[in-house]
Structures are given as structure tokens and as C-alpha cells.
Symmetry: D2
Subunit: 263 residues, 4 copies
């Protein structure tokens, strides 16, 4: 009845090229594993494509983004190679209404830090900690069908303080065998778009083959779709008294002459 969700899975795809063990772990790339997990869960209600850093414009042209309902983002070693122009474009599309799922080390991407306004730093350790993902918002759509707790046998550790704005909704908190905790599932609304940050997943571990992790990402894709009449950036407009629906464009802050009111 409703059109399928158009998902673009973005992957940096560098570890897979540079580190043989990562290539072996993720033969279709990490983006491939993420895409397969979404397809396995959402079936015909989603159409999934992938895009990677080394494509022209990182595979994220204006046209691709305009045709994307939800974008997932995984990056790590090459955040700095993402062009400012593309990062700005992705930010704009989120504010216009595209959903965004930021995965794991994507916390430090240009896209996420621009949208959050903070450093998005954290503490970390790659020492095979067991991760337990606990649900603290049991009626949230993203948590449906997810074990409580969800056990990930081995994963990188991320710990607090995670320098993000207080999330609109805190869905999951993780603990690690070393004792650290992390706000690992967080929602943020920005402009006309919805954002979900989800912690698990690393190039050193097969996390994106984990059934529960795939379920969460798939739930998040469905949650992040915004159903509005059109995709549009919030704009600054002047409205005359008693006319609530027809805004005028903004023509500069300083009066051009005495007759024209400025903001």
C-alpha cells in the first residue's frame, strides 16, 4: 500500500580494502552486510542500495539523496576524506526530511558532528569486551523484537562520557565486561528529519551479522521515515498579521528604506 522505503547504506569501505582480515570478515564490505540485514528484515517494504567513499561525490549526489528516504552511515578511518560539500549536503537533506542512522564509529563523522554541534567524543578500547545492550524505553518502536538484554559476545568498547546533546529519547544503554557504560541507542529530531545513533558494530568483529543488531537497524529505518507532504528545509519567513499561511521571503536585515520593515 505505502511505497517501499528507499534506503541508502553508506560505507567508508577502507578497512575492507586495506586489511585482509576485515575483507575476509565482511566479504561484501561492511555496507554489504548492513544492507543485507535490512533486506532480510524489511523484505519488500524497503529497497536498499549502497554507496561508498571512493565513488564520485562519495556516491551521494543531490539526485541520490533526493531519492533516499533513510541513509545509514558507517565511517571510521577516513572521516577527513569526506568532502565538506557532501557533508553539508547530507546535513541539509536530513534537515529537509531524510532519515539518518549513524552507526558505531560514525559518531565522529563530519555529518554527525555537524548535526549535533558537539565533539561527539567518547572513551574506547578494542579488547574483545562482551557488550550487553539493555532497553530502557520498552515501548519504543526501535526496541520491538529485540532481546532484553541483547548479548554481543565480542565488540569494541565505547564508554561515557559521550559528548552528545541529551538525546530526545534514550532507547538503549550498553555495558561492557570491563565495566564501562554507554548510551548506545539515541534518537534526535533535527529540522524535518529524524536521526538514530546506534553503537554496536566494528570492522574487527562480525557485529553486522548479529541478528539483534540487524533487527535494531531495520526497526530504526522504519522509524526514521518522515511522512510529510514534501521534503523541504525550514525557512525564515515574514507573516502579516492574521495571515497564518502565506509567508514572504526574507529581504535582508537592514531596512532598504523607511517603508520596508526589517526583521
Amino acid at each position: 500500500m505505502t511505497d517501499p522505503i528507499r534506503v541508502t547504506v553508506w560505507g567508508e569501505n577502507r578497512h575492507e580494502q586495506l586489511e585482509p582480515e576485515v575483507a575476509k570478515r565482511y566479504p561484501d564490505g561492511m555496507h554489504g552486510a548492513v544492507a543485507q540485514g535490512i533486506e532480510a528484515n524489511l523484505g519488500e517494504s524497503a529497497v536498499v542500495r549502497t554507496a561508498t567513499l571512493d565513488e564520485p561525490e562519495h556516491g551521494l549526489t543531490e539526485e541520490v539523496l533526493r531519492g533516499t528516504d533513510v541513509l545509514t552511515w558507517w565511517g571510521h578511518a577516513a572521516h577527513g576524506e569526506v568532502s565538506d560539500e557532501v557533508a553539508e549536503r547530507v546535513q541539509r537533506h536530513v534537515l529537509e526530511g531524510m532519515g539518518l542512522i549513524v552507526l558505531h564509529s560514525g559518531h565522529w563523522s563530519k555529518v554527525f558532528t555537524r548535526l549535533m554541534g558537539t565533539t561527539c567524543t567518547l572513551r574506547w578500547r578494542a579488547e574483545h569486551d562482551r557488550e550487553l545492550v539493555w532497553t530502557v524505553d520498552p515501548t519504543h518502536p526501535i526496541a520491538q523484537g529485540v532481546p532484553h538484554p541483547m548479548i554481543i559476545d565480542e565488540d569494541e568498547m565505547y564508554g561515557e562520557f559521550f559528548d552528545i546533546p541529551a538525546p530526545d529519547e534514550l532507547v538503549f544503554i550498553s555495558s561492557f565486561s570491563g565495566g564501562e557504560v554507554f548510551r548506545s541507542g539515541c534518537t534526535f529530531k533535527r529540522g524535518h528529519g529524524k536521526i538514530f545513533y546506534f553503537r554496536p558494530g566494528d570492522q574487527e568483529y562480525p557485529t553486522y551479522f548479529h541478528e539483534g543488531v540487524r533487527k535494531v537497524i531495520s526497526n530504526a529505518v522504519e522509524w526514521a521515515v518522515t511522512r510529510r507532504p514534501e521534503r523541504a528545509l525550514p525557512t525564515l519567513l515574514r507573516y502579516e498579521t492574521e495571515d497564518f499561511y502565506n509567508g514572504h521571503g526574507y529581504r535582508g536585515a537592514l531596512r532598504a528604506d523607511a517603508g520596508e520593515a526589517s526583521e
Copy 2:
């Protein structure tokens, strides 16, 4: 007992130079009126200085910001003239722990939009609306001693949708005689810093002489001070298992060799 709060009041100071009626309304500049309001309310518990756009580095050198506990920001006609370097510097100081009070048309400043990650747009009209400022968080320190409602006889109208992240705390909601509403007092924590956005105040109206408006700004200055051992940016650090207090600096995402774990 505690040291006085070091406040820097930043003003764009353009309308005052270009429009005689604004210069007449605010003979010491709008920044002068804001500064006087803080001094009148906080007395010896604050030391207040001002800085303006046309000073070198807009008066906001590294040294000035390092010596500032709370910065207030009013800009309007010349947001684009604020250098990216200074905007970035102010953002960094906020994330390190400097308080920030953003006033009225400062909503569209580089500093505020960078910290929010959204467009920070809104609807507006300059037609002498009466503004009523209602307290919806009556125990908030910023609302203490403020009338409910606070009446501002004439002011510019700002209306929803105001494209900001959902505030951590919504303290005030304004209505205007034309019927619009606005989330006019909002707190945000970002990094190690605290931010308060406050709507009232415009070059066309003597809002910064209003006793209630001055009380709110002064309360906000006190609220925005962060008492931590030192001012520092949150950082990304690696922590070994069972060592919770000594982080290591980050040395790159890709392994230099097989023996060194990367994030």
C-alpha cells in the same frame, strides 16, 4: 566568597551606527543596555565587559574568551561578517565550559546554528505586537522573580515553527497579540557548556531596558556558569581494562602494525 562571574556582552553594533532612531533608543548601544541590566541585577557578583563586531577579531580573542565565564550574543544584520574562525572559537569555548546566552536575532548567528546543527529559522513580523512571556517551568532558576506572565508592550513577533533541537528545558513560551506562539526561553547543554536562548529584544524596541527582560538575562548568566575543576574540551581517549582514569591519546584509526589495536 566565590569569584565574580566574568561576563562578556557581545553586540553586533551595526544598527546603532546606521540607523539614527536605533542610536537614539540605545545611546550606549544595545550591548551597553544589556551590560547595564546585568550589572544592575548582579552587582558585585559579576564583572561585565563588552565586545563588538568591528573590533579586531570581533573583540573575541582567545585570551578574552579564556577569561569569560559567560558570553551573551546579539547579532542581526551582519551575521555573515562574523569570521568562521571566531565562530568556531566561540563554539569551542562553549564546549569547553563557557556559558552562552543567545539573545533574540542571535538565533541565526553562526555561533548558534553551529551549536544547534539546525537552520534555527522561524516566522517573524515587526508590527508592534504585544508579547506575553509565560513560565512553564516554575522552579527553574532562570524564572525566579519573573512575573507570570511578563508583559512586553511592544516587540517584534517570532513564531513557530522554530527549527531548533527540542530544548533540554523549556522555561518560557511567548504569545503575541497576532496569535503566534514561540518557545522563547530554552536551555541546551552542549559539551561542558550551558546555553540559554532568550527571545525578547530588538533594535526597534527598547526591550533591553525592560526590568523583567533584564532579570531573566541576569538569572541566565548565573545559571550558565559551569563550576568544574578546569575548562577542557571532551576528548577521544583509549582506556585499558580496569584503568578508568588514565586515557591515552588517539593515534589514528588504521593500525600502524599488527600489534597495535585501532579504534
Copy 3:
């Protein structure tokens, strides 16, 4: 595909019996008008029944509530006549997972005040104010298809301070022609249930025939459904180390003997 949402519309139904002009305005009762609005919007995706105060157990037996996915509540003149037993039962079902939509003067019902923990008081006036309902959370499912602003030509005024917990999400803010503002669309999650408070609607005005008001209530019904494996109250349970899934019942706070651990 999914089963239809089972909605029970509860109405106090006293004004309709005691005041001829209310009976004339709402010939099928206010509950009848609310039910028709939901049916008109949700069609076959909902099955709607009504229940009223004067029925045995107010029409809200254990069996009725067990068969209800979402309950809407309108009461006003006879909050005190709702039995404590039924109020407690409704609260329990909400915490177990039943959705609850509280309408207008239902703010002062036993059910809502028990769930909020506060007085739920406000300021009011019945003097034909025009109400404007502004959306401040434009991606919220409850706001989809609702005009911004939504205009209600005449309605009772409710003003701040509204003594509720800060809502999880603030969806709508109303202004009134007299100048008051009100947080008029608020979501709250409690236990395994979701609650939406919506302000418009009064026996003195035909508000429940307003297309926009009906759209909001219908959206809220869809939003309030919780899809969990079973409806159950959160419980206090003891879990042994490394057994994350099998809790034991609680057997008292004081040790019965040395061998049994107490909480």
C-alpha cells in the same frame, strides 16, 4: 494485515443529560462525536466502541479493558464519581500497555492525575476565545496532516501554568485570543503504555466535529498502540549472576532465614 486497533471511547455523559443545549450540540453524546471522528479517519483499521460513567463499573470492566488497545477519556463534572477501583484498574492497564488519550477536561480526572503524580491544574476561561494550535514537533506522527496552525474559532481557554511533568514530547502549543498559551499536545510514556494529552474540546463548543481535532485524535490512537509480545505490568524480580532472562519473584524484604537473600 495487522489486526484493527480496538478503541474504547469513554465519556462521562453528564452534561448531555443535564444541559439541553449540550444534548442538542452533541446528539449522540460527546463520546459519540469522538467515536465517529475516529471511525471517519481510521476506517477499517479501527473498531470503536463507547462506554460511559453510568454503566456498571463505568463500562470499564477488566474484560473490556483487556480487549482495548487504546482508551480515550473525556470527563469533567463528575470526576469524583469515578470509583477509585476503576481509576486504579485503568492506570494498571495503561502501565501494562494500553494506550490512553486524555481529552480536554480529562486533565483533572483520577486516571490522569494518578498517572502524572501532579495536580494537573491550570488556568481557564469559557469566553469564546479563538484557539490557534501550533505544531512544534513537525515530524511527530500525531502532527501529520494537521494544519499549521490549526484554527478553532471558539473554544474554552486553558492557560499555563499547567501542572504536569515535562512531557516526553511537546507536539502542540495553543494560543488564545486573550493571550494565554498552553502546552496542548503532550506525550508521556508510563510503564508499558503510551499517553497523549490533547487540549481542545468542550461541552460548550462543537469542537469534536472539527476536522483537524478529529485528525489529531485519530493520529494519536494509531501512535498510542504498543506492539509488544504480551500485555504485562513491569515487575520486581531477582536475577542471578549471568542469568539475564529468568527472574525470581520477590519474597519479602526481610530475610526469613540466613540462607535467603533479601533485596
Copy 4:
């Protein structure tokens, strides 16, 4: 300069009477240890007294509560013995402006569950877990001077799901050596009062002698003080158009006659 904060530390004081090892651990009662911790931290800026269950009216008469700025609450084995009248009285005083600090097993007290509206249940285990308390809101006044993380060598485990409303501010998250996590420091504003829930502390462990735990409770006492002109319950009042400051008492929901407007 400001008057000292008047603190009442309430303790159930049953374990101390019934279990010799608890009496030995807390020779002045658990309430005694909590009171001493506050005195040690706040010195002359607080005056602290204690009250216990077995006193007439549990030591919480109208007069005592009227003379209390902040009440701390520890109960466990005898929640059911607290009279409904006193629980209601404490709830009313909180809504009027008294601060409330709920400690550990006080989560299941009548006072806390009435104010939250939920079951306030959780998972638990008393098996000498190490607790790490992590700060996730580093600028919050309650977190100042508290180690990150704070280590408690042995304590009872409390785990999620903790059935509370999403807190206004999440200050601390705990992990336990068994792997569970818990939202262990939560603020809630209700009516004119401020509430802080803090997890650590149990009769089986000497937690209330821990310097960090004492620091948190003392910070919370200072935070919970509400500075308003008078202590008063929010009330329902009618306001005439353009009279924003003089409300009328409520005289019933049904019209007594045609001339009197009802709500």
C-alpha cells in the same frame, strides 16, 4: 547570607532494629549516616534533623514538613506501614515546593510511586557486585566533585528496566560487575518541587559512609531547594480576559444557573 537549608532525613529504621549486623554497620541508623554525610559536606549551610517510621505520624507532621526545605527518604522492608495519610502529605508538600531525595530502595515507597505514577519496579540481586557510577551530564550541579567513574566496591545490584517516567535529566548511569546497567541518578520536577532519585545505598553494605555517595546526596540537597516567594500548591483558577494576575476559585463544573459560566 542565605538561610541554612532545613533538611529532614527520613529513615525506616527497621533493619537496624531487627538485624544485628545492620545495627553494627550503622550504629546511628542508616538515617544517622545519611545525616552525618550531609552535615560533613554542607556544614553551616544546612541544618539537619532525622525522623523515622516508628515516631508518631512517622515523624512527618504537617509542622515538620512545613519547616523542611529538603526531605531525604530511605525505606525498604516496611513501605506498607507508611500510612496513606502521611504519604499523601509528603506528596502534597513536594508539589508545593519541598525538595525530595529518594534513596535506593525508596524507589518502591508510596511517596515515590505516587509522584511517578508508575510501578517503579526493577531487577535486583544482592551478591556483592561492584558498582561503577558514570556521569553522563557533566555540567549538572549534582555531579560536581564526583569521580568519573565513582567506584563502590560492593553494593546491591539494581538493573533495568527501571519503570519510571523518562527523567527530566539523567545524571548518572551505573554498571555492575554482573553486567547490568541502571539509570542511577535521575531528576524530576513535579509541581513546585524538585526530586532526585539516587540508587546507591543498602542496609547490607556501608554505602552511606562512602565519600562520593555522601557528596552526591549533599549536592542533591542543595540542588533540590526551590527559591520561590512562597510554598504553594498549583491551583485551578479562572482568569477574566486581560486580567492575567487575579484568578478566581473554582465553583463547580456544572452551571448553577444560566448566568454563571462553568469550566
